[in-house]
Symmetry: C2
Subunit: 357 residues, 2 copies
C-alpha cells in the first residue's frame, strides 16, 4: 500500500464529499497498492473509507501478497463477489464508483444496497494527474527510450519498408532499448496518409517528397511515452517547409506557455492561435494534447474545453498538427511535465526540419 | 442492418421478458448493423424495441452510412448523449443493458429514468453463440490460416529464436497468409515454461527435450481462430510421450462427445475423466474450452458449471492440458462447430506426437 497516495485519494474524496469509494480500475489499484492484477471477467475492487483500512476484494485465483496496510478479502468462483463486497459498504451513504465499472457489478450492488446513493467519482484519476518524483523519473526514462526509437526508425526509412513493416521493426527496436512494449499501436504514415491523424499503417512504401509522420510510444516500468516527429523523404516542397515551420512554432509557443496556474485551455490556445494566424486553423482538427502516465490517455485534455489550472507534476502531450488532405500532414509532439516555475520537456529527440536522404 | 439477426435478438428479448434493450458493445453493434464504430470514451448505443425501428446513437465524429432499416441519431461533443438517449427510452418499463456498460452512462440514465427497472441482458451474446452459415465459413477460413501458421512456426524452432522473437515472426507469418492480426497475444512456451498455461513469451531459447507449447490465434474478416499444438524439440522423454498421448486422447474423446443436445459440461467431463483416469486429474487446472467467434472468448464456457445444451452453429474450443510444474506442459486445442448430427473440426493442423529435429 502506498500510504502517501492513499492519503491524497482520501483527501480528494473529502473534497468531493464522498465517504466511501469503490476503485475497480486495475491500473488505479496498482497505483495505490503496488499489486498488479488483471482480473479479466472477474470482479476486482478496492474499497476505501476514511478511518478504515482499505479492503481489496479479489478472486483467490490471483495470488496477492500480504501487506500490513491492506485487508485482503478473497472469494471463490462459485461465490457472489458483489454480495461479499456489499457486506462492507456502509448503508445509507453516498458511494463513489469508477467511471467504467461494468453494469453487471454495479446493478447487482445497487440491488443489494438500496439505501446508498451511487455516483461516479474521478478521485483517483485526479490524484494520478499529479505525478510524484518516482513517477516523473519513470516518465523521463520512458520518453528517453522513445526518443531514441524514433531516430532508429528514421535510419530505416531509406530501406523502403512498408508502414506495417516499420511498425513491426519498432517492436524489436523497443526491445533492444529495454522497453516493455507499445503504449499504443504505432502510427507510421507516408505522404498523403500523413494527412490522416489516425492513419493505420498499411502496405505503403515511401516516395520522394513524402511527409512522414511517426507517432509512437512505449511502456517502460509501467509508464507510457508518446512522441510524434515528421520528417521528409529526400526533399520537401515549399509548402511542406512552410507548414512544418508553422507547426514547430505552435509546438514551441505552447511549451513556453506551460507553468503552474496557466489553464489547459491556455496551452491549447497558444498552439491554436499560432496556426490560425498563419491561415491554417481549419486544418488543425484535434485538441492540442492529453494527459499521460500509466495510461497513454489520462484525465486532463489540453483542449479549449478544459479550464482547469496546471499544477507541478502534471504531464501531458503538446501535439499540434496541420493536415492537408491528399497532400501532406505534419504533427510535432512532445511530452512536458509542469515544474514549479515552468516545465521540463521529457522528449529528447530534436525537432528541426529534417530531410531523410 | 442484418434483419435476420435483429429478429433473433428481438425473439430472445421476448423470451427474457424484455421490452427494450440498449446495446453498447461495438462488436454486437457491428454484428447487427454491419457498421464498425470504435467510439473510444464516447457513448455508442443501439436501442432496440419490438415494433420500432432500431435507433443508433452515435457521435457525429463517426461517419455512419445511411441504412433503410436503421434510424441514426447523431450528437455533438458538447451535448449530453445520455439525455438524448433517455428521450427515446420508454418510461416505466424494464430496460436491458450490456453487462459491460460503463457506470458513467448507466448512472446518468438511471437518474433520468427513475421509473425504469434496469437489468443486465445477454440477449445479443446468446444469439451470437449460434453462428450462421456466413459466420461458420469465416471461422473455417480463420482456422485454416491459423493451422498453416502453426506449421510455419514449427519450421522456425530449429533456428533457436527466443519465445518473444517467435511471437514477432508470427505477425509476419499471419500477414503473409492474409490474416488481419492476432486474436490474442500469442503464447509460445519452451520446456518448463510450458507448464504455465498463461506463460508470456520471454527471452528463452529451445533446449533439447523441451515440450514446446504454441497457443496462437488470428483474426480474418472479423472472425477469430485459436489453436494450441505441443511439439518436442529433438527428443521426447517417456513421461512426455505418456502425457502427450493422454492429452490427445482427452481431446479426441471430447470432440467425439460434441453433438446437439449434449451439454457443455458433458464435453468437459469427456476430457476431464480421461485425464483423471490416467492419474493426472490435478494437473489439468483449467476448463476444457470456451466459445469463440468475433471475440476470442464469448458466452459459453466448456466447463463443469455450464449445463446448457449444444445447438447447431455453436463454435468453441476443446483444449485439455496437463501441466507438470518445473518439467513440462502439454495442451492440444481444436475449434469445433456443432452440426446437425455431431461436429466439424475447424482446425486442420495434424496433432499426432511430433518431434522437431
Amino acid at each position: 500500500m502506498n500510504k502517501e497516495r492513499l492519503q491524497k485519494v482520501l483527501k480528494e474524496m473529502e473534497r468531493q464529499n464522498l465517504g466511501q469509494l469503490i476503485i475497480s480500475d486495475p491500473i488505479s489499484i496498482f497505483y495505490l497498492t503496488g499489486k498488479r492484477i488483471d482480473p479479466g471477467e472477474r470482479m476486482l475492487a478496492l474499497y476505501l473509507r476514511a478511518g478504515e483500512e482499505p479492503k481489496l476484494f479479489v478472486n483467490e485465483l490471483f495470488p496477492v501478497s500480504e501487506d500490513p496496510g491492506l485487508e485482503r478479502i478473497f472469494f471463490k468462483d462459485v461465490e457472489d463477489p458483489v454480495e461479499l463486497l456489499s457486506r462492507h459498504v456502509r448503508e445509507g451513504e453516498t458511494l463513489g464508483v469508477d467511471k467504467n465499472w461494468p453494469a453487471r457489478f454495479l446493478l447487482r450492488l445497487m440491488e443489494l444496497k438500496k439505501g446508498c446513493r451511487f455516483t461516479v467519482s474521478d478521485a483517483v484519476e485526479r490524484v494520478r494527474m499529479r505525478k510524484d518524483p518516482a513517477e516523473i523519473s519513470s516518465m523521463r526514462e520512458s520518453s528517453r527510450i522513445n526518443s531514441q526509437a524514433v531516430k532508429k526508425l528514421w535510419e530505416l526509412i531509406p530501406k523502403g519498408y512498408t508502414e506495417k513493416k516499420m511498425g513491426r521493426m519498432l517492436l524489436e527496436i523497443y526491445e533492444d532499448l529495454g522497453a516493455d512494449g507499445f503504449s499504443f499501436e504505432p502510427i507510421i504514415a507516408y505522404g498523403e496518409n500523413a494527412a490522416d491523424p489516425h492513419h493505420v499503417p498499411g502496405d505503403f512504401t515511401p516516395k520522394e517528397g513524402d511527409s512522414i509522420v511517426i507517432d509512437i510510444g512505449c511502456v517502460k516500468d509501467s509508464y507510457c511515452s508518446d512522441i510524434t516527429r515528421t520528417v521528409f523523404y529526400k526533399k520537401a516542397s515549399e509548402e511542406a517547409r512552410k507548414v512544418y515551420n508553422i507547426v514547430l512554432e505552435a509546438n514551441r509557443r505552447a511549451i513556453e506557455a506551460v507553468k503552474p496556474g496557466a489553464r489547459f485551455c491556455d496551452i491549447d490556445e497558444a498552439a491554436r492561435s499560432c496556426i490560425e494566424r498563419a491561415g491554417y486553423g481549419k486544418y488543425f482538427t484535434h485538441r492540442t494534447g492529453h494527459s499521460i502516465g500509466m495510461e497513454v490517455h489520462e484525465l486532463g485534455d489540453v483542449s479549449v474545453a478544459n479550464g482547469e489550472r496546471l499544477e507541478p507534476g502534471m504531464i501531458f502531450s503538446i501535439e499540434p498538427g496541420i493536415y492537408l488532405p491528399g497532400r501532406l500532414g505534419v504533427r510535432i509532439e512532445d511530452l512536458v511535465v509542469v515544474t514549479d516555475d515552468g516545465c521540463e520537456v521529457l522528449t529528447t529527440c530534436e525537432k528541426d526540419l529534417t530531410i531523410i536522404e
